[in-house]
């Protein structure tokens, strides 16, 4: 019989909170709640009320107003809508400028949109992070041009946990009259976000990283002149035609409930993640050649990325089973190429391939961490014993 899995990949996805499951289940079959939220009859109005309540819950977690949110299928769609939608709107309706800025360490759901825009005549500047993984404001200042329309970066990096200073970056963008988009897939419900005060124009969020269901996300669009996106989809009048399609009421309700729970649990979740991260690092830090990929004080503690000298990454990952952890980019872990994010931080290919991302959640226990420590140590020792001495 195979060993029970130990899930340490919460940055990839989280289990749905049981309270959220109960709510969604009830809404999916309830005679007065399954209706189309766009219908004008009584059942439709009840469904619309459920959507409004979810928007209130999510907007409270984000520190903004419910009407600023557009429901999407997840962070990937939100990122596409924000970046492509804003780029096209600005290029065609406003200034005509086609310069965009992002970082090399962004998620593929951002970088691939920018690559597609490059193929459609946009000029993209790809900024490298500093050695600490963060974007220096001076670096951004030097990249801004008169025709720059949009800057996009992620709040918490999904591979390293590095937190970007979105307040400082946003202030710089606002001074320059440039839209600022933030991919907050990893930070919603984990770090305080007050969009009423933050100089952020567009923010992508998703439910499944915060104990909500898969298949539902949202895009925040600030109520500011020039802050608008062109729709990517056509076919209905829902959501002011920005994102047409019948609203998935149970998923939206689940997202709202998950956001409300996350807001209440944020402090306790953060402290729990901090304790687990420290416990794991203290258990392996004496191994020769092991290093944190990013400084702990600059990262969200729910993500601990470690790399190690002279240990092959794929064998390390297999040796760690039954731990469920990530190597390279979690969303693309079948790719044999070293992570571009880790290479942008200065890791060579072998270091990048040896990098393991542990990520923790509410259900992670000390026993899980102790098993992770034991498996990591045992596997590193085994693989090093297996390796031949280098011969010149």
């Amino acid at each position: 019989m195979s060993a029970p899995l130990v899930y340490l990949d919460y940055a990839a996805s989280t289990p749905v909170d049981k309270r959220v499951v109960a709510l969604m289940s009830a809404l999916s079959v309830g005679a007065d709640t399954f209706a189309n939220a766009s219908s004008v009859h009584a059942a439709g109005r009840r469904a619309q009320a459920i959507v409004r309540e979810a928007a209130r819950q999510l907007s409270k977690c984000l520190g903004t107003a419910p009407e600023r949110l557009v429901w999407t299928s997840g962070a990937t769609e939100s990122n596409n809508l924000a970046i492509a939608g804003a780029a096209h709107y600005r290029a065609t309706r406003r200034t005509g400028g086609k310069h965009l800025i992002t970082m090399r360490t962004e998620h593929k759901s951002v970088t691939d949109v920018f690559r597609a825009l490059e193929g459609r005549g946009f000029d993209v500047t790809w900024l490298a992070p500093g050695p600490d993984g963060r974007l220096a404001t001076d670096t951004l200042r030097q990249a801004l041009r008169d025709d720059t329309q949009l800057v996009s970066l992620m709040h918490v990096n999904n591979e390293t946990g590095v937190i970007q200073d979105i307040a400082a970056i946003g202030a710089l963008c606002r001074d320059a009259g440039v839209l600022f988009h933030v991919d907050a897939a990893q930070s919603l419900g984990k770090l305080p976000i007050e969009l009423e005060y933050l100089p952020v124009d567009l923010m992508s969020v998703t439910a499944h990283k915060v104990y909500g269901p898969k298949g539902i996300g949202a895009l925040y669009i600030a109520d500011r002149p020039g802050c608008h996106v062109e729709p990517l989809l056509f076919g209905g009048g829902q959501q002011d035609r920005l994102r047409p399609g019948t609203l998935p009421v149970p998923l939206i309700a689940g997202f709202g409930a998950a956001a409300a729970i996350a807001e209440l649990a944020m402090e306790a979740d953060h402290a729990h993640a901090q304790r687990l991260s420290e416990r794991l690092w203290h258990g392996i830090r004496d191994l020769p050649g092991v290093a944190m990929t990013a400084l702990a004080e600059l990262t969200y503690p729910g993500i601990l990325s470690v790399n190690i000298e002279d240990v092959e990454g794929e064998s390390l990952l297999l040796g760690l089973e039954p731990l469920c952890v990530a190597t390279g980019s979690a969303c693309n872990s079948r790719d044999q190429e070293p992570s571009s994010v880790l290479r942008a931080l200065g890791l060579d290919d072998k270091r990048a391939q040896s990098t393991i991302r542990f990520s923790f959640g509410r259900a992670t226990t000390n026993a899980d961490i102790d098993l992770a420590v034991q498996r990591y140590r045992d596997t590193v020792v085994k693989l090093r014993n297996l390796a031949p001495e280098r011969v010149a």
Binding site: D310, E312, E314, S315, L318, G319, S333, R334, Q336, K350, L383, N385, L386, A387, P388, R390, V391
Partner: protein, 143 residues
Amino acid sequence: MNASRDPVASEPYSAELRRLFERPLHAGELDGAYRVYIDEQGVRIALFAELDGAGAAPVIRQLRFQAWGCPHLIAAAEAFCRDFEGQPLAALADFNESGLMQSLDVPVVKTSRILVLVDAVRLLCRTIHESPTFSTGHKPDAP
């Protein structure tokens, strides 16, 4: 259906590969044995061989390996040692990657890693045959 478009990750390792990777019984060194070492394609491998008999029909008494690389390389090296211990030395001449890749279900993208093992086996054959101790039946000096 085009496999490259399959959105669901399939099992990347066969049960046999997992078993060999988990318990590489032939991992290690042999003092005073024939030894070869290759460092290429981003992997490193060393093979060790002890023979019984000399002259026309020597037999491989023991094989050991050391490897730095992916699970496919480690499992393939273990499978090679397991399969060829006790075989006539001449059997090594027939060793190639196709049988191993099939039995371990090694993906095509990993062919280059398995070819490093094939190169190491060929180098081992050559080293043995070119060794001045081979024809006399004496064990070689430790490298």
